[in-house]
């Protein structure tokens, strides 16, 4: 049976109407910020008709994709360098770059290490692999390197380091008990399914600040609205609850 053309037209019109009512925003988000972002998004969607679609990934991958025309409206990077580079290439909406969070690093273990000394000292007192994110790729990896360098342990611990491609993989290595220690993003400490027996928050003075910035790539009222929401009161409350500092 032939399908009347006006039916098709009718449905296409319906689709257009639907889009006008509630827009959809595609957001690329760094893996360390995925948990707070999910919470921010569900809070946002409760007070808005719009829907947010999240793509989790390492910021380096998102950056490469964005250079090649990936269809994201916003990008929440794990650092400030990649959004700066995108800005230089005029791939972002001018004036939309903003700092949404300042990351914190934590030393964690699945074993209770408290009896082995204090702070970074446990790393030399106890054997076993130490997982970090890749210092060349991930800001949390660079911060981990700076921390160990400042403590004068970098050279000494080199043979025991295992490198995850990003912050969340370093966490996997510890959570699956393949690495004894991990220097990971403090935001992961809030994951209910993870129970570390040892946690030490690295003082901010041990590394350069992990400045996490976001940008709008394709301008729309929704993108502006969501950016305001993230840096607004409810967004900030979620962000601090995950252990980040605010700008």
């Amino acid at each position: 049976m032939p399908f009347p053309a006006y039916h098709v037209l009718f449905y296409m019109l319906l689709l257009c109407v639907g889009q006008a009512d509630a827009a959809e925003l595609r957001v690329a988000v760094a893996s360390n910020f995925f948990l707070p972002m999910q919470q921010i998004v569900s809070a946002y969607e409760q007070q808005s008709e719009n829907t947010i679609k999240l793509s989790i990934g390492s910021s380096g991958k998102h950056y490469a994709q964005l250079q090649n025309g990936a269809p994201f409206d916003m990008f929440f990077s794990a650092d400030s360098n990649k959004v700066y580079l995108l800005e230089q290439q005029e791939l972002i909406i001018p004036g939309t770059r903003f700092t949404y969070a300042i990351g914190r690093l934590a030393l964690v273990s699945m074993e209770p290490e408290n009896d082995a000394g204090a702070e970074l000292g446990v790393l030399t007192q106890r054997a076993g692999r130490i997982a970090i994110a890749n210092p060349m790729l991930a800001p949390y990896g660079r911060a981990a390197q700076q921390t160990l360098q400042q403590a004068g342990l970098w050279e000494q611990l080199q043979p025991r380091l295992v490198v995850g491609e990003n912050a969340s993989q370093a966490l996997q290595f510890v959570a699956s008990r393949n690495a004894r220690f991990g220097l990971v993003a403090a935001s992961y400490l809030s994951m209910p399914e993870l129970s570390f027996a040892y946690v030490w928050l690295i003082p901010d003075s041990m590394h350069e600040p992990i400045i996490q910035q976001a940008v709008i790539l394709r301008d729309s009222p929704v993108a502006r609205d969501f950016a305001r929401f993230v840096s607004g009161e409810s967004g900030r409350a979620v962000i601090t609850s995950y252990g980040y500092h605010l700008p």
Partner: protein
């Protein structure tokens, strides 16, 4: 090209070589059994061997990571982040690429040549080495090259269990990935091109040899 990248290529070749040798040793009896067995549940083994073809490598890598880690609970050192761990991962990952061509080659040999060998007084082992092996040579060639090439292209499993340790687990595919992620596209190109040329050269060589083998045996 940087020395670390060159070392990553060497490590890839070493991993592919060791894994292929292990696969040939383990895969030959398995393929033989699959080709000859009349067990009614043999299809389950066939399905298990084919699993790595359809599973995302990350599934394999994830379970290996959990398996290696759980060894720590009973006091075993983890095999994650070691070359041995990568060999175990690669052997599972490339299993169907070695076992299936061997199985098909053994099936193609059939029963009559074995019966003829037995009639002439050959033991089953003698028959295997002097009758089956020469007849199944193209199958072995295909199995070797596919196992080797597939291991060279391995990425997801290594990413999950490797830990990116130079000289131990930092293979070429990981090095390329790291270069791309680190926005060093020029170095990524160099490595990728070298890997591409190596893989093509290897495949061309073996298919060329295989063609000649077929001409000779035909």
């Amino acid at each position: 090209m940087m020395l670390t990248d060159f070392n990553a290529i060497l490590l890839t070749l070493k991993l592919a070589l060791v894994s292929t040798l292990v696969l040939l040793v383990l895969g030959t009896p398995l393929a033989w059994w699959l080709a000859r067995s009349h067990w009614r549940y043999r299809f389950l083994v066939d399905a298990a061997v084919a699993l790595p073809l359809v599973l995302p490598p990350t599934v394999l890598g994830f379970y290996l990571l959990l398996a290696f880690g759980s060894g720590g609970l009973v006091g075993l050192p983890t095999l994650a982040f070691t070359f041995t761990g990568l060999v175990i991962g690669s052997v599972i990952y490339s299993l169907p690429f070695v076992v299936q061509p061997l199985r098909d080659a053994f099936v193609a040999v059939g029963t009559p040549p074995l019966e003829a060998a037995a009639t002439l007084g050959a033991t089953p082992l003698q028959a295997f080495f002097s009758v089956v092996l020469p007849m199944a040579r193209p199958g072995f060639l295909t199995a070797t090259v596919l196992g080797f090439a597939h291991t060279m292209g391995e990425f997801g499993v290594v990413l999950m269990i490797g830990g990116n340790i130079p000289g131990e687990t930092r293979v070429a595919s990981i090095a390329i990935y790291e270069r791309v992620e680190g926005l060093d596209y020029a170095a990524a190109h160099e490595l990728a091109l070298l890997l591409l040329a190596l893989s093509f050269g290897l495949l061309a060589l073996v298919y060329g040899l295989n063609r000649r083998a077929r001409v000779v045996s035909g």
